[in-house]
Symmetry: C4
Subunit: 252 residues, 4 copies
């Protein structure tokens, strides 16, 4: 994650960016699509094929490790978001050019649909429908909405913090960032898989919803995650960002 | 964990510290509060939502990976303690200014209460009370106290050693420190979750105790962990620290 | 994985390669044989000894962590493939000399047979035959072939991408590559162990097939994985490789 | 693991070793004792407290992650062996001075007894004796000895290779070595916990044997592991070591 500046909006001082138009604008979107498709393919299958004896361990490890490794191998090209809420937070703190936000979102949502469709294509039909195609079905009644929404906000906050502090905010950048981010997904699912599904990613919600045609309470996974993306952007801009990123409290 | 010197008490020789008052004193406390809240939120939920088929794997992985990733993304600002016993050990070996110990403790305990309260807010009431809000209920009789206290001392020793040797003692500092520390929590829970609860952290004990109003044998998790913090400080100062940290046996 | 250039086909500009003939040609093959034998020994035993209560977690963690660690300790000598499909992808993107492909394949297949034979030697006979010696028996009917073949192609794509992007393509090389690659195997098994067996490696399929004499639908694990190796080579050469690796879209 | 040369026998060319006698000879032994005690304490408890629903996952993760983290935090002082068979292999390839081998062995065996005794002290008596104090009881009949001995040899070969290639042999040294070594223990237990117990460490066998007074087939865990230590030393010295370590095939 050392040379994402050029393709990602943070042009470093005197260094002239010599990447081609293709590498700055097209390749990052291609990579967000490819990575989102692979991540959501693995994620959906780990839910569809989840065994009865291991609780949430299988989806927790599959989602987290898959996200971590895909960021490790593709993050240097696109920043490694694979998640519209994360791209929103990155944009707020200056880690992604505003003009790239919409192309990233479209790439991530297309990736989500491709991943979910491939998961449907290779899984046995019975298992696929038993799991509602890995769409989020945890919330079944209105009384449960507030808790699920609150949970999604906090879970996504941890994930977006892991991306923004581990891979963008210079003072806290770390070579371990890919797996820090992946583990934030793992622990969120271990903590709240049974509360809200621990989605944290509109593309992960959207893809299977399209493929399985399941849209109940779908809005929770957009509202909660995008609110968290905004919240993390503000926390970093106002309070915990480094001198370069923080907008306030910069005096000596 | 490379530039924690300025905010953390170890001012390196000739390098002049140019961080602002906010970055040296307020931001570390804010980050300790935020990190403790997120860590204890995840930890409590992983206990409240723990499934019947996976033993202690779910809380062990959730606590350990959550602590590891939060240290990886926030450690460069505050040193990444999120634990009063760890802050005590760090103070003893010179990794935290004495004047920052009390503010750190207050931040960590407030974070613990916030994390536990958020865990209560998003979880189903039945599950919350079945798990006593993730307060430590392992010790139920006086005959069990000595074993639990001894276990907490040894478990916390491993955790505090992982922080002090992996992230502070210069000769053994390593970029893997965040996950070394996280894994110390994971293995402690795998080894002793059923003996003492493997708390190792007064803030992790205090938050849920306040929220659930459960105080039986609560003192074990203060006495054992703080004793271990002192013990680790002494072992490093007297025996295994590097030439700079060790107070004795410095001759040729 | 920093100095694989000499033995592996990518001779870096002006640097003269001073490794001996033994180190350039024989040692890499020896290491591929040794690593494949150890990896496949662990992998087969984790299937033969798989317990009834933990779903696919045991083989998923055993295969993934074993591959990751063996790449970490031997990868600097041979590139760390241990898999004919990965060697094919590496050859296509210029990460392995064409003349070394066949020797690597032979080493990997011999390693596979040795590993499977050792697994047979140390396991109890009943358990060995109950698990068909860890040969791939998931596909039992013709109606299931298309799904299994498709799954193997996508799973192997993720694995080969992890190797080629994480360890060969310069822009995205990362010190975390060994465990990124290992985790790609773990998540593939978590996602699709029950669909196709999540083999992703002709040597892993071939060794146990020889030792157990089980050849039903064996061709799936050659065709699917090698196709994926080719596919990944093309994706990188045409679309997502860096300026040095990509053959197209190089203009400003 | 960058500056183990001084205390560990490999004095690098012109660099004058300025560590004190205490740091070169006493501290490494102290650290081997401390690390072995903590590792074996965690390991034994993870067996004594192993739940009925998670197969070998709990001991596999506890042993592997504990060893990995303890090497990460203490390895720079002593080389991070905590295992007589590993110290033997390190000595054969020049990673440990011959005169330090016996002191290391004594430290490791004392650490093993302390760790096992502490595990007994904190665990409930029933559980302790049900698990025979975590002594190795897998082999119960003479017909099983050959398989168990063979398994221990291969398992320990993987562990000793991980140490010698990942942390000592310069060409393949890697910052990931601590967790590579830890994961070798994890995968060995996942593969063979039910065959031989996957001990791989005479100190891990000896400590609980003393504390529980259980000595049946104890010799397997000395003979198998030490043979593997020798075997790994020879493989590296003769075949896969780098130009500096290898004794043969050095011509152009």
């Amino acid at each position: 994650m050392s040379d994402i500046q050029c393709g990602n909006g943070k042009s470093s001082g005197g260094v002239k960016c010599r990447m081609s138009w293709y590498e700055r604008f097209v390749q990052p979107c291609l990579v967000e699509l490819l990575g989102s498709a692979l991540f959501i393919f693995i994620g959906c299958l780990s839910v569809i094929e989840n065994g009865p004896d291991t609780g949430v361990l299988q989806p927790a490890l599959a989602h987290g490790l898959a996200l971590g490794l895909i960021i490790a191998i593709l993050g240097n090209i696109s920043g490694g978001h694979f998640n519209p809420a994360v791209s929103l937070a990155a944009t707020v703190i200056g880690g992604l050019k505003v003009m790239m936000l919409l192309p990233y979102w479209i790439s991530q949502l297309c990736g989500g649909m491709i991943g979910a469709a491939l998961a449907k294509a290779v899984s046995i039909e019975d298992k696929f429908w038993n799991a509602s195609g890995a769409a989020f079905v945890t919330v079944q009644e209105h009384g449960h909405v507030a808790k699920a929404l609150g949970a999604e906000i906090i879970f996504t906050t941890l994930l977006a913090l892991a991306v923004c502090m581990g891979a963008i905010n210079e003072k806290t950048q770390s070579p371990l960032a890919p797996f820090s981010i992946g583990f934030s997904v793992t622990v969120d699912i271990l903590a709240g898989g049974a509360i809200s599904g621990a989605c944290m990613n509109p593309a992960r919600a959207f893809g299977p919803a399209v493929v399985a045609g399941y849209w109940n309470f779908h809005w929770i996974y957009w509202l909660g995650t995008l609110l968290a993306g905004l919240l993390v952007g503000l926390i970093i801009r106002l309070l915990i960002g480094d001198g370069k990123t923080r907008l306030t409290l910069k005096g000596r």
